[in-house]
Amino acid sequence: MRYAEFTWFDLVLLAQGLGVTLGLFLATSLIGLLVGSAWAVIRFYRVPVLTQVVTFLAELLKNSPVLVQLFLIFFGVPAFFRINLTPVDAALITLSGNTAAFVYVIAVSAIESIGRDQVEAARVFGLSRWQVLRHVIAPQALAFSIGPLTGLLVNQLQVTSLISVIGVLDLAKIGNILNLRTLKPFIVWTAVGLLYYLAAKAIAYLGARAERRLRAHSAWKGL
Amino acid sequence: MLKAESVRKVFGTTTVLDGVDLTIQPGEVVSILGSSGSGKSTLIRCINGLEKLDGGRVTVDDFDVSKPRELAEARKRSGTVFQLFNLYPHMTAVQNIALAPIEVLKRPRAEAEAEARNLLASVGLADRAEAYPAQLSGGQRQRVGICRALAMKPRYLLLDEVTSALDPEMTAEVLSILAKLAAEGTTMLFVTHEIEFARTISTRIVFLDKGKLLVDLPTDQFFAPAGGLAQPRIAQFLTKMRKD
């Protein structure tokens, strides 16, 4: 039997798809944030060789289509290295790497805006490299970059939709399934679009709140 | 005739112009003096319609600047030269000057550009006709600004602190052009800090203090001990300006 009409279960399907999308988004954003920040720190400390590698990698990832990156990881890597990768594995790796590349750029600019003299002052006072990172650089860089980071994350949410092409059952893929079944593209794609839109707005709102909190702490309170 | 009647302008909680009356007849050269914040520039901006009036009326040859349809006519009859020049950065000197005659007065391009070159020659910039504002000095830019205002053949020339952004040498070159214009009979309304210059070429001096018009006298009476100088505020102002 073929259900060509919408059923209440379709709402569950959409919710599931949204769940997969958000789950992968959160995971890859977190990994991307950590990895991208680590790359920026490497560049800040001018680690030989690694800095060049990291810069090259970031440039490559930023300036190529995410879809091609996905194909390379999902189709190319298993064929070449004889390993198994599920669509979700490939999605995780690719999106994390892509996010990391953009986080790298934002983090580098944020760290650079802090200025080396502060770091030198802290070192002269005897703080270790790690302490300088944790207490001097990180808080200021974070406050500085929350705005651009929020914009980036909203964009990366849109990018997650591409994982549907390699078969992950995310929101876009559910949309495809529903579309092919009910043949009602306006309803299906409007609903899917609406869900993505609301998720994007939620991220933007949370980002703005976080920015206000962080900036409130660093605001000059007067003598 | 250019007439400002009981002009009132409020910015937030500050009354910048408080019931100012001013009438300018063709051929007059009037200077507006006063300290910063006295409302001098605001008055000019009310006359050319850049600021909306909060009270009173401004008419240029009986065209009311508050009425949108009459504003266009009023603007055709007045030309403004700005303190910061405000030249169009993406156009050459000739194009800057010819733009309004072509678009507003519907003159043919060739005629408007020839006119523009004539004007540039009269201010000594014939060889800089194809230069862009970024390639000109401050004094040269202001001279182009004057030509641009004159290209519309305005009845009244409004000049808003046109030498305040220039160094002494460039100030002198611009002032000499303005003196020439005054001598030729151009009706001009100046806002200026150049007291000596105002004294030399103006027929009338108007003094504004905190938004109110204190005096409006012919030049020689303004600088006479019994006339303008009798007002303590004016005497104080002039002494301070002379000291700088």
Binding site: V66, W189, G193 | H90, V104, R148
Partner: protein, 223 residues
């Protein structure tokens, strides 16, 4: 398994055809986004509240919904309305609409960055609002927006890879076919990645040159 690029050689012609299709689609979409972006930026800075809100809504919607979803919306939806466009036309349409939203933001920023005094000079000389906009505001705003518009264009090139999902054989679509023909997806997608990166790098150089040329006359002379 050896990394062997030579297997791509017999397919280079086919890949080149795909590249040409990408170039054509992107060129048309660039034009479309540019015109749409200028119109929307005009609407957003206009005096009419209705126009402003409509324009703002368009930008908001198309910046917060994934391109894939937008593309499917048009690809499956338009035939329902009786509009039958081939994959190429649909792709160009979708790219133009999405690109228009991003470029309108850029042009709007360029408009708002114009010194107000310049507009005032135009106003007092009697220039109508329309003339002020077309002769003064837009020419200046576009000259200063060249670099950020270039970024939008580069983004367009990368996004065009998504057109492969609606059976258009542009560069990515052709590569997919070659990958399955040769059974060497790793080499194919790796080269594809580098090809896109090189292409965007070349475009960004071109943008830099264009920026310098257009703004040559407006740059302050060092005296």
């Amino acid at each position: 398994m050896r990394f062997d690029l030579s297997i791509l050689l017999p397919h280079l012609g086919f890949l080149l055809e795909g590249a040409v299709l990408t170039a054509q689609a992107c060129a048309l979409a660039l034009l479309g986004s540019f015109v749409l972006g200028a119109l929307v930026a005009t609407a957003i800075t206009s005096a009419s509240a209705v126009l402003r809100r409509l324009a703002a809504a368009y930008v908001d919607v198309f910046r917060n919904i994934p391109f894939l979803v937008q593309l499917f919306f048009f690809y499956y939806g338009l035939p329902e309305l009786g509009i039958y466009l081939d994959a190429f036309a649909t792709g160009v349409l979708a790219l133009s609409i999405a690109g228009g939203a991003f470029s309108s933001d850029v042009i709007r920023a360029g408009i708002l960055a114009i010194e107000p005094g310049i507009i005032e000079a135009a106003q007092v000389s009697g220039l109508s609002r329309a003339k002020t906009f077309t002769k003064i505001v837009l020419p200046i705003a576009l000259r200063t927006s060249v670099r950020p518009l270039g970024s939008v264009f580069i983004n367009l090139i990368l996004t065009s890879s998504i057109l492969s999902t609606i059976t258009l054989n542009e560069l990515t679509g052709s590569a997919k076919i070659v990958a399955s023909d040769t059974f060497r997806p790793f080499e194919v997608y790796f080269v594809l990645l580098v090809a896109y990166a090189v292409l965007t790098w070349a475009v960004s150089i071109g943008i830099g040159l264009l920026h310098r040329r257009l703004n040559r006359d407006m740059m302050e002379q060092v005296s």
